[in-house]
Every structure is written in structure tokens, then in C-alpha cells.
């Protein structure tokens, strides 16, 4: 397992850095936030990201993607974490692309994946029902009626739920509320009757929505990954999601640290540059060490995805743990 980027990966990261610093610095995020932009991201910017190939990074070449792997995707998320860039890349390029690649049948993949690559399809995963992450606790039900299913329930914290043009809903087709088995993934057009989608305003100004489903009718041909087969696919996709978010948090931490480091080399108090004070030097050195540990954990976790490692679940937890802890230092 390599813990450093190869030439191609480094070049992707450099391009991402240059593009984001130029086209989507923090001021871009603030503008989206302060103008109450309904979509929550800039469509022109997203189009450019798509043109750079980012939405197809995790998609196999046979479906028009670039099959560049999670190490590449992680590098982009790290750079986006430095600029706080809002975009559908997480919900579509990681969640949607992975759910369909890993769970879809060939016709679903043929139809949907090229659209993600070219940027005409954005997706959202409607999974959570509770305030605390518990992906197997699902009471939203899907009941069979003829060739169709009827779905009823409420979903919360659906990233890009109000902006995506394809919803992927996890619903219970069997078993009791916290059974790992008996969960099925359904693909829905957000305009389907019985769907009520409300954008929620969050502390970080990122896109999320609540989704209510009342007897929403969906064809059994729109099941993703087979009946009662949802949790296995979700497990792998959520590992990837945690790793992408960890990479973004690594970017958050690195950038905040860099800004602080520059500042304490300039700011004067008590007649001295405050960066000469040992109290601050030692805090800086400790943070540096933790960021280095986070960096290693994130790239190792990205590798675990690309190598199909048996250790993926633990590596995803490690990356999420270190990135979360480091961001709170």
C-alpha cells in the first residue's frame, strides 16, 4: 500500500488546488450563503468541475467514467475542504456514483452513470431517520402492490435532497425497525406524487433537506441492488462517504492551521511577534503532529477503497475519527 500520491494523482491534486483557489475560494462560499442561493451551489462552477472529470472519478470506464479511484477523489475533497467549496460532488460523485456502480444492474448503470459523468444527473441519498447516525434503523416502509411499491415515511438530513434530480431512498421491505436485513433501495424522481421535500437551513450553510413520503408509488424496476439487499451496498458506500468527508475535514484543518500559522508570524503583542512565544509554538507543533497523523489515516483509507481491502470498515473509522478529532483541536 502506497501512502504517497503517484504522479497522476499528484497532478490531479495540483490541478484541483489551482482550480479551486482561483474559481471557488472562501469568498465564493460566502456569496452562495449570503445571497440565500436556493440551489446551494453554483451551476456554472459545477459544470466546470464536471468538465474536469470529477463527477466520473469513481465510475468505471465502461460507463464513461475515469475509474481514477478514491485516492484521487480524496485529494479533490481535501482541496475543497481548504476552500469550503459547495458542490454536488459528495452526494452525486461519491454517494450516487457509488450506489449505482456497486448496486445497479447493467441497464441502470448504462442509463444513469454516463449522465453523472456528463453532469446532467445529480443524486441524493435519503437514508437517515434519526438525529444520530444509525443507518440500519429504518421505519420508512415500502409495501408491494402489484408491480409497484408504495413508500411512506420521513427522512432527515438528506444531503442535496432539494436540488438533486434523482432520489435514492432506503426503505424497509421486511423485518423490524433495526434489522440489518430487509432494507431496499429505491430510485425516485423527486417530482413523484406524494413526495414533500423541504430544504433545511444548517449551521454550516450546506445543503440538506427533509423528505416526507406519503404512499409514493415506485416501480419494482426502480429497485437498486435487489430486494432486501440494501444494507450491504450502503455499508460500502457509507465507508466511502466517511472517507470523502474525512478528506474534506483534513483540508479544513490544514487550511485553518496554515492561516493561523501565517498570522502568528505577523501579529505582535507585548512588543513581540506572538509566534515567538513557546506556549503558541508548542500548540502549533502538537496540531502539526495531529494533522500529519490525519493525513496518513485519510490516504490509507482511500487506498483501502481502491484495493478492496478487508480492513476498509476499520480504515474508514480511523480516518473519520482522526479527522474529526483534529478538526476539534
Amino acid at each position: 500500500m502506497a501512502l504517497i500520491l503517484n504522479e497522476e494523482q499528484q497532478s490531479l491534486k495540483d490541478i484541483a488546488k489551482e482550480f479551486l483557489q482561483k474559481n471557488a475560494p472562501v469568498t465564493h462560499f460566502r456569496e452562495i450563503r449570503d445571497t440565500n442561493n436556493e440551489l446551494g451551489y453554483d451551476e456554472v462552477l459545477w459544470k466546470e468541475m464536471v468538465n474536469l472529470g470529477w463527477s466520473g472519478i469513481l465510475i468505471p470506464e465502461e460507463y464513461g467514467g475515469f475509474d481514477f479511484g478514491m485516492v484521487g477523489m480524496g485529494s479533490i475533497f481535501e482541496e475543497m475542504g481548504k476552500t469550503l467549496t459547495p458542490s454536488p460532488l459528495f452526494a452525486t460523485g461519491v454517494l450516487g456514483a457509488s450506489l449505482i456502480s456497486l448496486g445497479g444492474n447493467d441497464s441502470q448503470k448504462q442509463t444513469l452513470l454516463p449522465k453523472i459523468v456528463e453532469g446532467s444527473l445529480t443524486t441524493a441519498l435519503a437514508l437517515e431517520e434519526n438525529n444520530r447516525h444509525s443507518p440500519n434503523v429504518i421505519s420508512t416502509s415500502a409495501t408491494k402492490s402489484g408491480e409497484n411499491y408504495e413508500i411512506s415515511g420521513e427522512k432527515t438530513f438528506v444531503i442535496d435532497g432539494h436540488s438533486a434530480n434523482l432520489l435514492i431512498v432506503a426503505a424497509r421491505t421486511e423485518g423490524s425497525i433495526d434489522d440489518e436485513s430487509g432494507i431496499t433501495l429505491f430510485m425516485l424522481d423527486p417530482k413523484t406524487d406524494g413526495l414533500e421535500i423541504t430544504k433545511t437551513s444548517m449551521v454550516d450553510s450546506r445543503n440538506s433537506a427533509q423528505v416526507k413520503l406519503r404512499n409514493v408509488v415506485v416501480s419494482s424496476s426502480d429497485i437498486l441492488g435487489g430486494l432486501n439487499n440494501g444494507s450491504g451496498i450502503l455499508e460500502n458506500v457509507l465507508d466511502r462517504a466517511q472517507i470523502a468527508i474525512s478528506a474534506e475535514m483534513l483540508g479544513n484543518a490544514s487550511q485553518a492551521f496554515q492561516i493561523t500559522l501565517e498570522y502568528i508570524k505577523e501579529r505582535k503583542q507585548f512588543g513581540a511577534v506572538i509566534g515567538t512565544f513557546q506556549a503558541l509554538q508548542h500548540r502549533a507543533a502538537e496540531m502539526y503532529s495531529e494533522i500529519e497523523l490525519t493525513k496518513s489515516s485519510v490516504i490509507a483509507a482511500c487506498n483501502a477503497v481502491d484495493e478492496n481491502s478487508n480492513d476498509l470498515k476499520r480504515m474508514a473509522s480511523l480516518a473519520k475519527f482522526k479527522a474529526g478529532e483534529t478538526n476539534h483541536l
Partner: protein
């Protein structure tokens, strides 16, 4: 078959023929020296065979007695030794600290004289750095060496000299330029311990052991030819050597033992389960302890990966600033590991000797006490944080 595959087969065959059965079991490591002591006859045989082949110092050049192996070949050798559980043939500060510094800074004559005996374990080296008045501020050291004819006369005192009472020679920082600014008046000198002007006195540590000594020089002598790296240029050699020392000590965060050995066989989670009990899922029953053990395990993994990454970065030639955090993080992490073991063990973790405690319990207690020095020796954690702030982060001095 590739060259490396051939090398692997040859190595495997050689080890199979030459590594004595007793040396394939865990146990103590020989330190060699003029008065070498061996706990088993096989230890002597093993040291001689590995020394002859240069495999006590596998990557050192052959001309100085080393194995002349590439990094890849050395990796194979270590793997093959690991596969049969072969013990390291020789423990030596000559190998871990002095040798790499000599290879970089010594003259050809000095290398030819001093490196081969290190390889064969014929000379036991110790390190004379710290003094009673010069610890973290090492460059303020005052042990002085004055040239008289073709030798130096040395006077002063060193402290925390590991194994000074057993060592044959000492690599020592001495003041040769008392008028120069403090960093520019230090030389790196090799001194024979077996002479009337040198006396040593062991210091008993909190763990009950006495590997450290005070070392006194009263008109001790050393030939001028044994000054390494140039007159008053010793600080450059010293700093590089400290990097080797810190790398050696930071490895403890991964391997466990308080002095770098792997004495404690059980992992932290095992200790937790054994002493704090398990719940119905075979997890540590005490939730508070389980959480701390899990956090520690996660950080062990993250630290291990970081050391691996540093290795990869160094290999491709990129300077790895992360190396600076290894000693700081590794030793603090190792101290915490032992604190958690003690927390799990309760009263079984505070026995000193005799009845009522297993051998492993007593060992853990002693190792726990020993770990307290890890974040002090070889440059304290605070010194390491200073190094990171200044060299890596570029924070100003004044």
C-alpha cells in the same frame, strides 16, 4: 527468477544452516564488547556468523565490514529472519548511532579503524552527551579537551551515559574551543574507557535497573586522530547522531517495551480484557476503559501509518518534515499505553517483586516506570516541539 528472488532463497538457506536453534527463540540480545558475556553458547556462534557476513550491519558498505545490502535486500533479510523468529545478533549503540555518523563524517582511516569492530561486536560503544549542567541545553556542555602533543587531555563529567560501566569506548562531546560561541567550540571525540582517567558510577532508576551511569574524566587521554568531523565541528555530528537516536527511541511507540525491546507480549486490548473482564460480546467490560483503549489503538494505527509514510517519502527522496514529530508522538503514546495497562491491572500492576505477581505483571510494572524516561531521553518532548516549531513550521526565535 529476479535477483531479489535469488537473494531471498540464498538468504533463507543460509539462515537455515547458520542460525542456531536457541537463537530462534525469544530471549536477550548480546551486546558484545571486549569482555563479551553470552547467556547461551549459541549467542556467541550466532554473533560470529552474522558478524563475519556483515549482517549485523546489513546496509553498511562491505569495505568496512558491513553486508553491502541494498534497502530492498535488507528488507528481505529482515523478513526472512522474522519468518524463523531469529533473534537480533547484536545490540549496539555503535550500530544504531555512532556508525551512521562515522559513515557520514569520519575520514577514511577512521572508518577503516572503527567500523569493522562495530560490525563484529568487538567494541561496545557508549554515548557521552549530557552533563549535570547541560541537558536540554546540550550545547552549553563544559567537559573540556585540551591538546597536548598528539593527544587530548579530557576533564569533566558526563551523566546518563547508558552502559558506561560495561562499554569499551565512548563517543563524546567535548569543549575544544572555550572562546568560541557555544555551538562552535564543541568537538566529537572517541575515548577509550579502559584507562585510569575514566571512572563510572551507575545510577539506579525508578524501574530498579541501572543502565545509566555517571562518567568522570580526570586527565583522561585520547589520540588526536580520534577526533571526528573536524576541530570545533562536533555540533554538526552531534545533531545528526541525535536524529538517529530519536528515530531509535520513537520506534518504542510502536513496539511497546520501555527500552525498545518487545518484552510485554500481550497487547493493550488483551491486558484490558484479562484484568478488567469482558462483556457478553467479548469486549472490555468497563466502558470507560474500553473507550480509552480503542482511542489508543486508533492512534497507534495512525502513528504506524505515519511512520510508514515517512519511510516512503524518504525513499523517493522528498524530505519528510513529519519525521520530526516521531520522537515526540511515539514516546508520549508509549507512556499512555503503559498508563492504560496499569489502569486495567489495578493492584496487580503495582507489585515490585516476589510472591503474588506473575513474571509478566512485574515486567509491565517495571516497563511502565521505565517509559517515563522515554519522553526525556534523547531530547525531551518540549525540545522536540521546539524543533518542530522552528525547523518545520518556521516560527521565529525572537
Amino acid at each position: 527468477m529476479s535477483d531479489l528472488q535469488t537473494f531471498r532463497e540464498e538468504t533463507r538457506n543460509w539462515l537455515e544452516e547458520n542460525c542456531p536453534p536457541e537463537m530462534r527463540k525469544p530471549g536477550d540480545i548480546a551486546w558484545g564488547g571486549r569482555n563479551a558475556q553470552f547467556s547461551h553458547p549459541d549467542q556467541k556462534i550466532w554473533l560470529e556468523r552474522m558478524g563475519d557476513k556483515g549482517w549485523t550491519c546489513p546496509t553498511w558498505p562491505k569495505e568496512y565490514g558491513g553486508g553491502g545490502l541494498s534497502k530492498e535486500e535488507n528488507k528481505i533479510l529482515q523478513e526472512e529472519m522474522g519468518a524463523i523468529g531469529a533473534r537480533s545478533p547484536l545490540g549496539s549503540f555503535g550500530i544504531w548511532m555512532l556508525g551512521p555518523a562515522l559513515l557520514e563524517f569520519a575520514t577514511e582511516e577512521q572508518k577503516k579503524e572503527h567500523l569493522p569492530p562495530i560490525v563484529r561486536g568487538e567494541i561496545w560503544w557508549c554515548q557521552g552527551y549530557s552533563e549535570p549542567g547541560s541537558g536540554s541545553d546540550l550545547a552549553s556542555l563544559s567537559t573540556k579537551a585540551v591538546q597536548e602533543g598528539d593527544e587530548y587531555v579530557i576533564n569533566g563529567q558526563k551523566i546518563w551515559t547508558s552502559y558506561a560501566d560495561k562499554a569499551d569506548k565512548i563517543f563524546c562531546l567535548v569543549r575544544t574551543g572555550p572562546q568560541e560561541p557555544k555551538h562552535d567550540g564543541i568537538s566529537f571525540l572517541l575515548i577509550d574507557m579502559d584507562q585510569p582517567g575514566v571512572t563510572t558510577r551507575p545510577i539506579t532508576l525508578i524501574s530498579g535497573k541501572s543502565p545509566f551511569c555517571e562518567t568522570f574524566f580526570d586527565d583522561a587521554k585520547a589520540p588526536v586522530k580520534d577526533l571526528v568531523g573536524g576541530l570545533n565541528k562536533g555540533w554538526t555530528v552531534a545533531k545528526r547522531l541525535l536524529e538517529h537516536e530519536r528515530t531509535m527511541i520513537s520506534g518504542m511507540g510502536l513496539s511497546g517495551g520501555g527500552d525498545g525491546s518487545k518484552k510485554t507480549k500481550s497487547g493493550l486490548a488483551e491486558i484490558g480484557k484479562k484484568y478488567a473482564g469482558t462483556d457478553s460480546n467479548q469486549k472490555i467490560a468497563d466502558y470507560a476503559l474500553r473507550r480509552k483503549v480503542a482511542l489508543h489503538d486508533l492512534n497507534s494505527r495512525a502513528f504506524g501509518l505515519t511512520m510508514q509514510r515517512v519511510g516512503e517519502e524518504t525513499k523517493v527522496g522528498a524530505p519528510s518534515p513529519a519525521a520530526a514529530m516521531a520522537k515526540y508522538y511515539g514516546t508520549e503514546h508509549n507512556k499512555l499505553r503503559y498508563e492504560l495497562m496499569l489502569e486495567a491491572m489495578g493492584t496487580q500492576g503495582v507489585g515490585w517483586e516476589g510472591e503474588g505477581f506473575s513474571v509478566e505483571e512485574l515486567q509491565i510494572t517495571r516497563d511502565w516506570l521505565r517509559t517515563k524516561a522515554n519522553s526525556i531521553e534523547g531530547g525531551t518532548s518540549e525540545v522536540q516541539l521546539n524543533v518542530i516549531s522552528k525547523r518545520v513550521l518556521g516560527l521565529p526565535d525572537k
